[in-house]
């Protein structure tokens, strides 16, 4: 029998691999929806929500266990800043919460998650988070000594690069010294959601799981199913299978929030989109409110956000579900709110 020499072996190997690769390429046509990471082992979560975050209720809830600095006594649960430039409003709101050092410690790794859902419009159309709001948060994190500030989202319309630049966020983040990062599919890891009532596992972006601090920066917008998309709905951007969340959306959004609860939520209401959301495109649907809502409690932030649209927290199924799970406080009367008029 003729033995195979090295060259022949490599040729055969190369051919087999190319054939396999082509085969996979083609079979993908019919199997588009199969998550790429199905066989990956779950990576040990770095920011497992502890019982203290999820069980506490009422005003005491604002104590965040991963926060490096003790919460100054008497600091509000939620701050609303109005009538100023976006950056100024963000700075005043965060400072009223006790400053960014309350959330970000020296050398920590921060992920900021704005809403960059489509690549279609500039920020004036209020489909994507205001770039200066994101930029201000990047600056604040770096000012208190964050080691790395990454900004990310996975748009559903258009490419990631287009969306990053069209929204204006890439520019402001770069100017502020932060980093826009892509979200390749292989980095979504199958993760258990121990507190989940309906959604028990999801493919979550690995960097988000591993970050020391997660800051959620939604823009307040109309959405036909959720009614409004704000902080909790914005977390959808870090998981792979978003269609799944559209069934029993209220509970599933709350379940997801229980696993990746942000340390700080800043709702951008500089402009809000009151109709044809979440994609927008019509300036007639945009209302300029010059408002920023900031809170360590994502449920409280979303709850206050409903009032901007003339609604009540209980109108939104995900706020109800999250409050029922103890993820935060939706009772606007029980939340200590500080209102700042920046323009005054």
């Amino acid at each position: 029998m003729k033995s195979m020499n090295r060259r022949e072996f490599l040729k055969t190997l190369g051919l087999s691999i190319s054939a396999l690769a082509l085969n996979q390429t083609l079979s993908g046509c019919t199997d588009r929806t199969s998550p790429i990471n199905q066989q990956l082992p779950t990576i040990e979560p770095a920011r497992q929500p502890t019982s203290s975050t999820t069980q506490q209720m009422g005003p005491a809830n604002s104590t965040n266990p991963s926060a490096p600095v003790q919460v100054p006594s008497g600091s509000p649960d939620l701050v609303v800043a109005r009538n100023g430039e976006p950056e100024e409003m963000v700075r005043r709101a965060i400072s009223a919460l006790g400053g960014m050092q309350r959330f970000v410690s020296q050398g920590s790794k921060v992920i900021i998650k704005p809403n960059i859902c489509v690549a279609y419009h500039t920020y004036e159309y209020a489909a994507t988070t205001n770039p200066w709001v994101v930029g201000a948060l990047v600056k604040l994190c770096l000012e208190v000594g964050a080691n790395q500030v990454q900004v990310l989202d996975f748009p559903f319309g258009g490419t990631i690069d287009e969306a990053y630049s069209k929204s204006g966020i890439a520019e402001q983040v770069k100017l502020a010294g932060g980093e826009m990062v892509g979200m390749p599919r292989f980095k979504f890891v199958r993760t258990e959601i121990p507190l989940g009532k309906d959604l028990r596992e999801a493919d979550i972006f690995d960097d988000v799981l591993k970050a020391d601090v997660l800051i959620d920066v939604p823009i307040a917008k109309h959405h036909s199913l959720a009614q409004l998309t704000m902080g909790m709905k914005n977390l959808l951007g870090v998981i792979l299978d978003r269609a799944a969340i559209h069934r029993n959306m209220g509970q599933r959004l709350a379940d997801l929030t229980s696993r990746i609860k942000p340390n700080l939520t800043v709702v951008d209401a500089v402009r809000i989109l009151v109709d044809n959301g979440p994609t927008g495109g019509n300036l007639a649907d945009v209302k300029k409110l010059d408002t920023i809502i900031a809170s360590p409690d994502i449920v409280a932030a979303d709850s206050y956000g409903t009032t901007l649209f003339g609604m009540r927290p209980d109108d939104l199924s995900y706020i109800k579900a999250a409050a029922a799970m103890g993820l935060g406080n939706s009772d606007l009367k029980a939340i200590r709110i500080e209102e700042i008029n920046v323009g005054a």
């Binding site: 691999i17 190319s18 690769a21 082509l22 085969n23 996979q24 390429t25 083609l26 993908g28 046509c29 588009r32 929806t33 790429i36 990471n37 990956l40 082992p41 489509v118 690549a119 279609y120 996975f154 559903f156 319309g157 258009g158 490419t159 990631i160 690069d161 287009e162 069209k166 990062v181 892509g182 979200m183 390749p184 599919r185 292989f186 980095k187 690995d206 959405h223 036909s224 199913l225 269609a243 799944a244 559209h246 069934r247 029993n248 959306m249 044809n276 979440p278 994609t279 927008g280 495109g281 019509n282």
Partner: protein, 526 residues
């Protein structure tokens, strides 16, 4: 240096080169690399220029057929005259020095060609006429507005194979490697930097999938496999661009000449990759077959090979096509064209064919070079090479397959890149108002309509400022006679542009519950 005995083996060891040959090889590789980079770069919307179209416009076969088919001269086509002039001067230098497919074939002909008496002697010289007959067929078909046979143009073969087969396969290998290496914590940071360096430029965040990727690859693979029979088999016998340049080369100014010093050692014949050096003609070559690779110069121990300028003498070789064969080719093409035209198209099949923005079937098929640049540039991968969807003459032309990818509302790249404006150049605003299809909801499959469950994804995804998919609240008595309030999606077809994002994102598995049909598929006047 060369031993008198030892035959081919000794010759292999003694393969010689000179500075001209080195220069040619350098230019070949440089061109190949540049063209490949240009094809990869097509996906980058911030690319500096459409450099990728330079070779296309230089290719006289593509520009001539496009001229015949459309009777209009496209911008850039004038460049083909440069190639024609270069060919009048230097013969088929394009084939030997520039053509990316030719260079690929040189790479895969790793061993020096065998002399005629050991290798391709068995191949009849008559085979060389095939390429002329194919060329005749292509030109005649083009005159009747059919460019289907441009799938045989070497540039389009190279562009198409890179786009629809090789890059997707590479993407899969790259992603699979990343995915498995990512599990090792100490590799995470290096993968992250590799990723941020390579991903946006080379591969999109959503994997590349193309229908026809295997067929396109086999087409290229077959051409490379033919190289095993004879080096540059494709260039000698089949390539229609080679035929066109070969015809011009018959009157080339610089032609190969064998001097009086020749003692008939056959070394040049062994070195010639196209096998055109003919011992029975005193080792002369056919300028229509010679790719000006110059391998024969250093091979000659007596330095008797030169390429002087001289007055051309046009000679028609015995293997070149006879009038009768030429007529046969023309006749076959005419019959084929008639058959294609008379082939019944089933309207229900065509209802699903969505053409790129601004193009219609006839215009697209008459202009399209089958170069796949639009397919490469499409950010969602929705533009796919067609199989027989729009008829056999539409093979490997672009069509939007919304279930694979949608037409991105913020993108007009396909029209920007198309070298012949088969896809018209539309401003983004114009493209956003161009109707490429119309969406219809299949109420029997829709989650809201059929299963009475919340969904609304199609409405959420609709990119129009005033959404073409709207929701109507309805009260339905459920299985247990409970009254359920549900939002039912409906399409306002006056607004819908057919971008297909609703079909792409529809969470119903397999066939979507909202589908885009060709815009005139439901034009009844009722």
């Amino acid at each position: 240096m060369l031993r008198s005995t030892g035959g081919v083996k000794a010759h292999q060891r003694a393969r010689k080169t000179n500075s001209w040959v080195s220069l040619r090889i350098t230019i070949q590789y440089l061109t190949l690399v540049l063209i490949t980079i240009a094809i990869v770069n097509v996906r980058n919307p911030n690319r500096l220029s459409n450099l990728v179209n330079l070779p296309v416009h230089l290719d006289p076969l593509l520009t001539l057929t496009n001229l015949l088919a459309t009777r209009t001269i496209i911008t850039g086509a004038i460049l083909a005259i440069i190639t024609a002039i270069a060919t009048v001067l230097f013969g088929r230098a394009w084939c030997g020095w520039v053509c990316p497919l030719g260079t690929t074939l040189d790479i895969f002909a790793a061993k020096p060609p065998l002399p005629k008496n050991e290798g391709d002697r068995s191949l009849p010289e008559k085979l060389r006429s095939t390429k002329y007959l194919l060329l005749a067929g292509i030109l005649l078909a083009a005159l009747f507005g059919n460019l289907s046979l441009l799938i045989f143009d070497p540039l389009t073969i190279y562009y198409r194979s890179i786009t629809t087969s090789l890059l997707p396969a590479l993407d899969w290998v790259f992603t699979a490697a990343e995915k498995s290496l990512f599990q090792f914590p100490f590799l995470v940071s290096s993968i992250n930097s590799l990723e941020s360096w390579l991903r946006p430029e080379l591969f999109p965040y959503n994997p590349l999938y193309y229908r026809q990727s295997i067929a396109v690859f086999l087409f290229l693979g077959g051409i490379i496999a033919l190289n095993l029979i004879a080096p540059r088999f494709w260039c000698r016998y089949i390539c229609p661009l080679g035929a066109l340049l070969g015809l011009i080369s018959k009157v080339a100014i610089f032609q190969r000449q064998v001097g009086q010093e020749c003692k008939g050692c056959s070394l040049c014949e062994m070195a010639c990759p196209t096998g055109t050096i003919d011992p029975t003609r005193n080792y002369a070559s056919d300028p229509a077959e010679c790719t000006m690779c110059l391998e024969c110069m250093p091979a000659c121990p007596r330095n008797s090979v030169s390429f002087p300028a001289r007055l051309p003498d046009f000679s028609w070789r015995e293997y070149d096509p006879k009038r009768r064969e030429f007529l046969a080719s023309v006749g076959i093409t005419a019959i084929a064209l008639a058959l294609i035209k008379s082939q019944a198209a089933i309207p229900s099949d065509e209802a699903h064919v969505i053409f790129p923005p601004g193009s219609q079937k006839d215009g697209l098929l008459t202009k399209c070079l089958r170069c796949s640049e639009c397919i490469r540039t499409c950010p969602t991968g929705g533009l796919q090479p067609a199989f027989l969807d729009s008829g056999i003459d539409g093979l490997w032309t672009p069509q939007l397959v919304p279930r694979i990818g949608y037409c991105d509302y913020s993108c007009n790249q396909c029209g920007q890149i198309c070298p012949v404006q088969a896809i018209p150049l539309l401003t983004l605003e114009k493209k956003q108002n161009t109707i490429i299809g119309k969406a219809y909801i299949d109420q029997n499959r829709c989650i809201a309509w059929a299963d009475h469950k919340d969904c609304i994804v199609c409405e959420e995804m609709c990119p129009l400022p005033e959404k073409a998919v709207y929701l109507e609240k309805a009260h339905i008595s459920g299985i247990n006679q409970n009254d359920i309030e549900i939002q039912l999606p409906l399409v306002n077809r006056d607004l819908c542009i057919g971008c297909g994002i609703c079909e792409f994102k529809c969470p119903v598995t397999a066939e979507a519950a909202i589908r885009v049909y060709s815009p005139d598929s439901n034009n009844s006047q009722f």
